[in-house]
């Protein structure tokens, strides 16, 4: 099991690096377009390229953002609960989150497949957009494993209760 999670951790690091590269590519393409425009040679379809890069940036950072626990939640009532209740609530909310992300993964995959079937391409570059949606679906698929790992960790009740008790102490 450890080897599987270590594989996903390595994958997340690679995805994050690629996401950072896409982010800088967004800057490079936009700046090149601005400079090119000043000399009468703008980059054709730069808006589409930047939009696709944004999708890739977001897709590739999904597991990293989850791992860093950046998504905001309302803490106010949660803090008042005892550690076992916190574990139970986290378990339930993580299961709901996993269900939501599974649905998004499947629907995104189906959306990409339908775009491929219809032969839809982007307006300017005539790029087959389904490839980007498949990539997004794949990244959501990877995100599922990170949420699943959190759920499995929470099932180790004693350890989880200790973790939440320490969190309480930190506050």
């Amino acid at each position: 099991m450890k080897q599987i999670w270590s594989f996903f951790d390595r994958l997340e690091t690679k995805m994050r690096a690629l996401g950072a590269f896409c982010l800088m590519a967004m800057v490079a393409v936009t700046c090149s377009d601005v400079i090119g425009r000043a000399f009468g040679v703008p980059i054709f379809g730069s808006e589409e390229i930047v939009s696709f890069l944004l999708t890739l940036v977001l897709a590739l950072s999904l597991p990293y953002a989850h791992r860093e626990k950046v998504h905001v939640g309302v803490e106010i009532l949660f803090r008042l609960f005892s550690a076992p209740v916190r574990v139970l609530l986290s378990l339930i909310t993580n299961i709901f989150s996993l269900a939501l992300i599974i649905i998004i993964t499947v629907m995104m995959f189906q959306y990409a497949a339908s775009m491929r079937e219809s032969g839809e391409v982007s307006m300017n570059l005539e790029y087959p957009e389904y490839t980007i949606i498949f990539a997004l679906s794949f990244c959501f698929f990877i995100l599922n494993f990170f949420i699943l790992r959190d759920i499995l960790t929470l099932f180790r009740f004693k350890e989880s209760i200790r973790h939440f008790t320490n969190e309480e102490g930190d506050e």
Binding site: T30, L54, E75, M108
Partner: protein, 437 residues
């Protein structure tokens, strides 16, 4: 069950799930999806989820967000804030409470290159707190000025909250940015007056610091150069119509990057850190947007926003009372919820009300960002307070949360006064956009 009842039930369920600490973005997407399935069809709900999430994730308008966040992160990691603080310190440090005034002024100036409130609070804690500690400033004044000043980054352009408000309400981001400048400066002045009064009543709170010669003060003005160059090129280009918001942000990133590299103040490690921080913050913001979009589609089919707008329009209340109630709701919400999430959740409901009452949407945008600014410093959520609490631990030692909240109170009064001034004199907000657009 009528669609309005389903909508009300959906909102109540969503608020209940919020209390379990589940991600706000996930909750909005989940409730929006289920609600849409109930009111329209399961197939419609499933399609809504995939198409709207992809739509948000690939929106050209939203490409502005990661780029402005990156600009702030690079500035954050390259010492620009330190030079800004140094300039303000040389000018104001020698007067009573001057270091706190310098901190607030630096926050406003740093806000010109960084659109994030917690990032501004965090960097200013690192830069300003040790100096204030060295000159025996009390913890409440020091921490209060940093946490409150950090909120100014949210109003001073570029502001991520204003970008999102602009996209959600289809208002010009350039006009919103330019309209944020005077309110940000007004609030800075109010904060400085607040520090002055505090230190006049209790001089021990902020003793006078080191004195500098006129020549040293003038020399220190070079510390403003970096920020001015980036602001003039990036935001100035946007105001003058040379750049779109995305181009303005990309040029800003390039500008900050070039300055940092030329000055040799950005290591590879710090650059990578800035990139990764941008990835995680962007992911958080964009997920919130995607969740809010799904939820707003559900709200639209329930017709609740329109019903509320019609109901309020039919009430025999003066518009000022209605706006007062809305601001109070934002204030209460801001106490319990992240400001970005709150704005995204409530804009679909309140925006039609505001427009039906004839208020200017640009003015309203600035007002709710100001109210959200109160949210980041009020208990019990007060994001900036926790940022200052966390960062100060490693910089000047632990400061009690109660002390920080106590220190914030005078600044909170200043924000309330600022909001009242902007409500009475909307021209302060609207004069610049009216001149330029």
């Amino acid at each position: 069950m009528s669609s309005t009842m389903v909508g009300i039930l959906g909102i109540l369920i969503m608020l209940a799930i919020f209390l379990t600490r589940m991600s706000v973005a996930y909750v909005m997407a989940m409730v929006g999806f289920v609600g849409f399935c109930v009111l329209i069809s399961v197939e419609g709900g499933l399609n809504l989820l995939s198409r709207n999430i992809y739509g948000s994730f690939s929106s050209y308008d939203l490409t502005t967000i990661p780029l402005f966040i990156l600009m702030g992160q690079i500035a954050f990691n390259s010492g620009i804030s330190k030079r800004l603080y140094n300039t303000a310190y040389k000018f104001l440090g020698s007067i009573r409470g001057g270091l706190a005034m310098a901190t607030v002024s630096s926050c406003t100036a740093f806000g010109a290159v960084c659109g994030s409130s917690p990032a501004t609070a965090s960097i200013m804690t690192t830069v300003g707190m040790p100096e204030m500690k060295r000159y025996n400033y009390t913890d409440d004044l020091a921490a209060g000025s940093v946490a409150s000043g950090g909120g100014l980054g949210m109003i001073m352009p570029p502001s991520v909250v204003l970008i999102i408000y602009g996209i959600m309400t289809e208002q010009s981001i350039g006009a919103l940015f330019v309209s944020g400048i005077l309110p940000a400066l007004l609030l800075t002045v109010l904060f400085i007056i607040c520090i002055y009064i505090t230190c006049t009543i209790s001089p021990e709170k902020g003793p006078a610091g080191e004195k500098f010669t006129f020549a040293e003060k003038i020399k220190s003005l070079t510390g403003l150069t970096d920020t001015l160059i980036v602001f003039v090129i990036s935001i100035g280009g946007l105001f003058l119509g040379f750049f779109t918001p995305t181009e303005s942000a990309a040029v800003g990133v390039a500008g900050v990057l070039i300055i940092s590299v030329v000055r040799r103040q950005l290591s590879w490690k710090a650059f990578v850190k800035a990139l990764y921080e941008t990835l995680s913050t962007t992911s958080m913001v964009m997920f919130l947007i995607a969740g809010a979009v799904v939820f707003s589609k559900f709200l639209a089919v329930t017709r609740i926003p329109f019903d509320i707008a019609t109901w309020v329009g039919g009430l025999d209340l003066p518009p000022a009372i209605v706006i007062g109630i809305i601001i109070f709701i934002y204030f209460l919400g801001g106490c319990f919820m992240d400001s970005l999430g709150l704005i995204m959740l409530t804009i679909p409901i309140f925006f039609p009300v505001i427009t039906s009452l004839g208020y200017d949407p640009i003015w309203f945008g600035i007002i709710i960002v100001l109210v959200a600014e109160m949210g980041v410093i009020t208990p019990p959520v007060g994001l900036n307070v926790y940022v200052v609490y966390g960062v100060s631990k490693g910089v000047v030692g632990e400061i009690q949360l109660e002390t920080i909240f106590k220190g914030i109170f005078p600044f909170l009064i200043s924000v309330v006064i600022g909001i009242i001034i902007l409500i009475i004199f909307p021209q302060i907000t609207l004069i610049l956009p009216n001149l330029m657009y």
